[in-house]
């Protein structure tokens, strides 16, 4: 999904929420995921101007994951540690942006290179309980 303006926040959020609900995340978790996606997309729009975002599901034996990958070809982040702790706004910021998204997700990874761009990969996990796995095995057996 291309990100070119703040108008792209709504479809990105909608896609994240829909995937989260399809994977069985609670409404609260779906809201947190949508918020994390908003912060990342907002970062791209405000600081780089354009980029792209993709989402996919991960299906493991004991858990489901929702993975979000956001890329841009902007100037990169010079001080990644500071950006992850305080955001682009520095110490006086509200802790939203990159650090905000990091705090809402279970896994968060950033790769960045000066003048080459930045890729943010973040994942939220949902544990599959025993009953759920049993149902899935039965469903698979019936097919």
């Amino acid at each position: 999904m291309a990100i070119e303006s703040s108008g792209d926040l709504v479809p990105a959020r909608a896609a994240a929420r829909a995937l989260a609900l399809r994977l069985g995340f609670s409404r609260t978790d779906a809201t947190l995921i949508a918020t994390a996606v908003s912060e990342i997309v907002r970062n791209i729009v405000v600081h780089v101007g354009r980029g792209e975002i993709a989402m996919h599901a991960v299906d493991e034996d004991t858990r489901y994951g929702l993975v979000v990958v956001a890329r841009d070809e902007g100037p990169g982040i010079r001080d990644l540690a500071a950006a992850l702790e305080h955001g682009y706004a520095g110490r006086g910021g509200l802790g939203l942006g990159l650090p905000g998204a990091r705090r809402l997700m279970d896994e968060f990874d950033v790769t960045t290179a000066v003048d080459e761009g930045t890729t943010v990969t973040m994942t939220k996990w949902r544990i599959r309980d025993e009953l759920e796995r049993l149902r899935e095995r039965r469903h698979a057996g019936a097919q």
Binding site: L9, V10, P11, R13, A14, R17, R27, T28, T31, L32, A34, T35, S38, E39, L94, G95, L96, P99, G100, R103, L104
Partner: protein, 274 residues
């Protein structure tokens, strides 16, 4: 602040109304942006709750029962979306608080280490090497909040001194057990930190009922040669911070103990360990 709340209330009422008329991601996105704005304007969660309550009362006034349910559900989603921004801030505060606690613990540890360095028992004029070793073992236990600590040092003539602090199963302090654990610290390694599970797999303890995590750092001369081992045992796994502290303690006490060893024959009037 009253003006800020009034301005916020006005926007809140209009966006919530629009969302209830046409529920969907556009309205929820509006709530999220409103949440960012509320945080930036320093509005409290209580301000938001009061505004939500007021606006909601107006929305449901005169509505029929099914419509009230629809309005309440839609307004709940709207509020959750807004509050997700406060959740981000709350998690940030939790993180900052944890960092501040770690910082305070670190300062406390460094103060203790400084005091230890200044302790006369570790000074070159020390009469008793055993006393100095005991002090190091005590500091190791306190710094890492360990249940047990053991400091061992080999002196001239292969004599080994051992200082033990805390409740210690007899089996872990035998010469054989001490020697076996020393082998787990490979030459050149600064510290070994084994969790409960890893310590169990390595057979650190011979008492089957005792389950401990184990953290150890060698005591070394300035030339790099090892002359002892500083070990701590605890019911909970040791953190990276504990490891760093034990390593630091091992470094400074190694230097102090080496100094004490060098001066020892002069101050005690004879060679060898007492």
């Amino acid at each position: 602040m009253k003006t800020t709340v009034a301005a916020f209330r006005s926007v809140y009422a209009s966006r919530l109304s629009a969302h209830l008329t046409d529920p969907g991601e556009v309205g929820l996105h509006g709530a999220y942006e409103l949440g960012r704005d509320a945080v930036a304007r320093d509005l409290s969660v209580l301000d938001v709750a009061a505004v939500h309550h007021d606006v909601l009362l107006e929305e449901v006034r005169g509505e029929s029962a099914p419509d009230v349910q629809r309005v309440l559900a839609g307004a709940g989603d709207f509020l959750s979306e807004l509050l997700s921004v406060y959740e981000v801030v709350r998690r940030g505060i939790d993180e900052a608080r944890a960092a501040a606690l770690a910082e305070r613990r670190s300062s406390d540890m460094l103060r203790r280490l400084s005091r230890l360095l200044a302790d006369p028992s570790l000074a070159a004029e020390a009469d008793s090497f055993e006393e100095a070793l005991q002090l190091v073992a005590e500091e190791a236990a306190e710094l890492t909040r360990a249940a047990t600590s053991i400091a061992t040092a080999r002196l001239d003539g292969d004599r080994t001194l051992t200082a033990i602090v805390g409740d210690c199963p007899s089996s872990i302090a035998t010469p054989r057990a001490l020697a076996a654990r020393r082998l787990l610290v490979a030459p050149g390694v600064d510290a070994v930190n084994l969790s409960h599970r890893e310590a169990g797999e390595q057979g650190i303890l011979t008492d089957r009922d005792e389950k401990f995590a184990w953290l150890a750092a060698p005591l070394r001369y300035l030339n790099g040669g090892e002359f002892g081992l500083l070990e701590v045992f605890a019911g909970e796994d040791f953190s990276d911070f504990d490891e760093a502290m034990l390593l630091h303690l091992a470094d400074i006490s190694s230097a102090a103990l080496e100094r004490a060893t060098l001066y020892r024959p002069v101050t005690s009037g004879g060679a060898g360990a007492s």
